[in-house]
Amino acid sequence: MERLTPAFNVENLSFSYREALVLSDVQIEIAQGKLLFILGRNGSGKSTFLRLLAGLLPCRVGVIQVFGRDLKDIPMAKRAKMFGFLNQQHQAVFPFTVEDVVLTGRASYAGFSPKKADFEVVRETLEKMEIGYLRNRIYSELSGGEQQLVMLARVLAQQPRILLLDEPTSQLDFHHQSYLFSLLRTFANAGLTVVSVLHDPNLAFLFGDDFLFVKEGTIFRPPNGIEPWDAGFLNEIYPCEFQSVPFNDRAVVFPKITL
């Protein structure tokens, strides 16, 4: 079978905020149509990496290719059709309706004025995410979790081929977390590439196809023959002892508790 162009190909990428080096010499390929999670400790550079992929931070050292094209050469409106980005958090200022907020995701298609088709996409997206009932509600009055779902709907209304998500579940309750991950799973099965930063390794292990780990400025996959849920391997990422519990030919992990 012919090999698909990778969604992202990152070569020799380094990035620093002022003096502090955050990422150094990253080499990573991200395949199309997979549900990929980026795991690592707080402040390890996960979000920085995601923002670099999204073109929100300038890639000064190294190369980022999207579907084989240098990100730098792709105009902003074209990028929006290739990938959508969901921020970790969002602060609302004006009391826009949910429909108004989701409609802004259509900017790269609609230019200065949304057309009937754009409203249609918004309606379908909200229905698909089962939050159609929120359409006429005031966005700033929703709960944090509902706001996060609405912002994800905004990204989906953009109809990108890749989703870049920074902690999409940080505000979601237990039900919405599993709901969201099943949704991401169906998207990936349908050919969408999903790249998500995540704090909870177990959710990642339950749903994901591929896993990247970020530590001390480097990004890597587990070495050959070692599963990402291996307790010893995870101990190198997070400095605590784990125990691995087998589950559905994979495993979930718990911190070792000594009482």
Binding site: G55, L56, A77, A80, F85, A107, F112, S113, R154
Partner: protein
């Protein structure tokens, strides 16, 4: 449904209010009746009635409407650009900058008044923005504070211009900075109509994009819009419109704050509806305020005095309602 009716009413009433405003004024002999008589060739002072209505009142009415509309639309766009419901051309220091520019041009004739007002208006906006910016964000309170400082600087510079002006000019400068429309004339209308309309029309074109800009820079950029470019265009347009308003009508303080908030109560925050409604309501409302101030025969209170007295409490109310504190 009810707000729908209010919106329709605002659009429908604009034209009748413009027309009826032509018959308001201290000259009692040029009312609606006198004008009708003159049209039918009756009455004694036909020429006088026509002169008062067409050459004195018509330019003033049109100018007032345009100034009101332009200030409201500018305020609306500035609030979206800064993601800050508590700002307008006055709070940003833009009005003071433009007033200084216009006064300087009046006193020295170094540049045309409109252009000088625009240049210094833009300078003031830039100063407020860069003073308030920290880590690429502009906090609500920082922007208000830097606006106060910028406003103070240009008010002081304006005082210096006044100090060196001769007494005759001084009086007219003082009168005009208080926000005054009684010097409106066909010449002033011609001078200001183009920048007022160009600025407002640009904002009208960008009205939907303002929704996206108001969501935040990351959101705009990841939806394929350059936030920096759109914001610069919107700020230049708002500065063009409001500095021309200042150049012809002086400082009509807080008007660009009050009107967008009143309009949002009817249209909601969606700028697709809010921008045109701001223009029409802003124009009509200022015209009504001006009609009121013209009805006090003999004694004309500067319009800026009215808007400040109205705007002060509105600002305090908004500050309390939005829970704006030091940590925002």
């Amino acid at each position: 449904m009810k707000t729908r009716n209010v919106i329709t009413l605002i659009y429908v009433l604009a034209l009748p209010i413009i027309v009826l405003s032509l018959f308001v004024g201290p000259t009692q002999s040029a009312g609606l009746g006198a004008w009708m008589d003159a049209l039918w060739g009756r009455g004694t002072n036909t020429d006088l009635v026509f002169t008062v209505i067409y050459q004195i009142r018509l330019p003033r009415v049109l100018l007032t409407f345009l100034v009101g509309g332009a200030l409201a639309v500018s305020g609306c766009s500035i609030q979206a650009v800064f993601r800050n419901p508590l700002t307008d051309p006055y709070i940003l220091g833009l009005s003071s900058g433009a007033a200084f520019g216009a006064a300087l041009a009046l006193a020295t004739a170094w540049l045309p008044v409109q252009l000088s007002a625009f240049v210094f208006g833009l300078t003031a906006v830039g100063m407020s923005f860069f003073m308030a910016r920290k880590n690429n964000t502009v906090a609500i309170v920082s922007l208000i504070l830097s606006g106060i400082i910028v406003s103070g600087i240009f008010t002081s510079l304006l005082a210096i211009v006044q100090y060196f002006s001769d007494p005759f000019r001084l009086q007219s400068i003082v009168h005009w900075t208080m926000g005054n429309l009684h010097l409106a004339s066909a010449t002033k209308l011609k001078m200001a109509v183009f920048p007022l309309l160009l600025g407002s029309a640009t904002i009208f074109v960008y009205r939907w994009r303002m929704n996206l800009i108001a969501l935040g820079d990351d959101e705009a950029r990841s939806s394929g819009i350059h936030p920096g470019r759109d914001k610069a265009i919107l700020l230049i347009a708002a500065t063009l419109a409001s500095s021309s308003a200042v150049a012809v009508a002086g400082i009509i303080g807080l008007y660009g704050l009050i009107v967008p908030h009143i309009v949002r109560m009817f249209s909601g925050p969606d700028n697709r509806q809010a921008v045109p409604l701001n223009f029409v309501f802003g124009g009509t409302f200022l015209l009504l305020i001006d009609d009121l101030s013209r009805s006090f025969a003999g004694l004309e209170i500067p319009i800026g005095v009215f808007t400040m007295l109205l705007g002060g409490p509105v600002f305090i109310y908004l500050m309390k309602k939005n829970n704006i504190g030091w940590n925002d």
